[in-house]
Symmetry: C2
Subunit: 337 residues, 2 copies
């Protein structure tokens, strides 16, 4: 069976018979990362091993000293830098380039080296989410930046090389094609129906029930009908809101609750799987639009995209979203907190 | 620095300082795959372990018996099946689906269990390429199929679970969005300039020289200016040709030569890296177009796409294409054949 993703206009191939049942994706314990022999730059007391912090949640202690709850600083090995220019040029007719202007920051989840987000108290998750939003708002003051991608890489299959849990953000002075495409699809849906496609999808999923993972008064977590990878989970706000920047601070707590809950269900059901988390939000200039709804996407890295996926851009998903959602709903996370 | 990919209209971030030099990507010897303890379904004598063959290059021997040079059969665990229907339907307003109609075949490279394509004689590579083209042409007779993706997964990081070298193809009754997008970009370039963007790119690269890997009378191998991953290599025909199906059989030999050469350079320079190979070609209905040029793309799997890539669709490439191409040009492959 194929299913159509109304947010990308692409088809996803579901091939559940090719694979095992959802609970067969349970991960084996992972070997420790290679960084275990070096002092951890993200642990309290080692603040001098990172570039100076740009933001921290701390009560009373001095900058770049221990005593923080969340800490943000430039990435020591940045993909883009604030100091680079952003002029564009061409060499030849087809070789167009621009300077590597941007920002690349690390936001350390907490002082705890071995606690993943699913194991943290809600207050800590809330502090992290608040810090991510603060960094977003602050960096967007720099009008050279068009787009900010906030993400987390958890585990080696998800591209982490450091054990200590952390998030990152990259601000770019271009808008990625994929984001423009999603915006165009959502704008067309809005122009045709008068509705936001993400909100319409959330309402259809709430009515269908079977792919809902969990929900509270302000947020809904679900595995979308046309999820590209096994256990791909989205967290969407119930309130109409194009950008993560507009999230009211009073809603950081329920967002932290549902995020901790979902990550805990994935942790227990799949055995601490590697995953990427991203915050999908609009670029500069689209922040007043009614057609997009910012949301969190969690992509467990249980399967390896191969030649078909690279050659077609389509996904083959061996697990039906409703079966994955049922498994997560049944999962008790008491053991974690 | 960022570079613009004129075939996708997206930017690629180059961050060479984040990483080591090109030769530091040399791979360590890999542990054998888990299939080593089971009889190999792709080895001569084990033909009964696969579905019956649909095509083979053999001299005199009976179907599904040893004596073949290349052998093609349906995938035992298919993502799509010829027997499924392709009717489309909707449940609710936003849940659109279609039947899993398609084809999923395996094409075994050769009888040799441990020889990768780089180590095969040119005649064997030619026989494989001819078989791929025959399967393409044969499956396109089924008018339900819109697109055929031909690909190879080499090594566990590239998604292989079987050691014996093989290719696959998947025929779908939809056109992937990514392919439509590439066609739209190429058509717009053609409408603006009167030229095929892939041919224009190849000519610019031939003039610039520094990203050319190797070339012969009929084909050019290069690492494109805006390559998304380290050592991503394309092989393009010099002749104007939208579809792989139109490749003249007389050119299978020079294509085999350049493919063996490039795979050999990657094998020696990087230590048998895991890679995906895809053949980019047009879908049904576009085969007479002048704006696209079919080509082979080789994607070594040396880096792991992480949260930024998933969230933005953009790539971060730690190796400059001209440095990678220089390393491949210097690489002697005599040891392989």
């Amino acid at each position: 069976m194929l299913r159509f993703d109304v947010t990308t206009n692409d088809w996803v191939i579901f091939a559940p018979s090719r694979s095992l049942r959802p609970h067969d994706f349970q991960q084996r314990p992972k070997p420790p990362l290679a960084d275990g022999t070096r002092p951890c730059p993200f642990c309290p007391g080692n603040e001098h091993l990172t570039p100076p912090e740009v933001f921290a949640v701390r009560e009373g202690s001095a900058a770049n000293a221990p005593g923080w709850k969340v800490r943000a600083m430039p990435n020591k090995y940045p993909a883009l830098r604030i100091e680079e220019d952003y002029h564009r040029g061409e060499s030849g007719r087809l070789f167009r380039y621009m300077g590597g202007c941007g920002a690349h920051e690390v936001i350390v989840d907490s002082p705890a080296h071995h606690l993943s987000l699913a194991q943290q108290p809600v207050e800590q998750v809330k502090a992290l989410l608040g810090a991510l939003q603060q960094r977003y708002i602050d960096l967007m003051r720099d009008t050279r930046f068009q787009t900010i991608i906030i993400f987390k890489n958890h585990g080696p299959q998800a591209g982490t090389s450091l054990t200590h849990p952390h998030c990152q953000l990259i601000a770019t002075s271009v808008v990625p094609h994929m984001l423009r495409h999603k915006l165009a699809v959502a704008a067309q849906y809005f122009d045709t129906t008068g509705e936001c496609v993400y909100r319409a999808l959330m309402e259809e999923e709430l009515a269908a029930r079977e792919r809902i993972v969990t929900a509270n008064e302000h947020f809904v977590a679900l595995i979308p009908y046309a999820a590209g990878v096994p256990f791909e989970t989205w967290i969407l706000p119930r309130r109409r809101q194009s950008s993560f920047r507009w999230l009211d601070p009073s809603l950081l707590h329920p967002l932290a609750e549902i995020l901790k809950n979902v990550l805990g269900q994935l942790f227990v059901a799949l055995g601490d799987p590697d995953f990427n988390l991203t915050i999908d939000t609009v670029p500069r200039g689209e922040e007043q639009g009614e057609y997009f709804l910012w949301h969190i996407q969690i992509h467990p890295r249980l399967t390896q995209p191969a030649g078909f996926e690279l050659g077609s851009g389509m996904s083959i998903n061996p697990v039906l979203p409703e079966e994955a959602a049922a498994l997560l709903r049944e999962t008790q996370t008491n053991s974690l907190s």
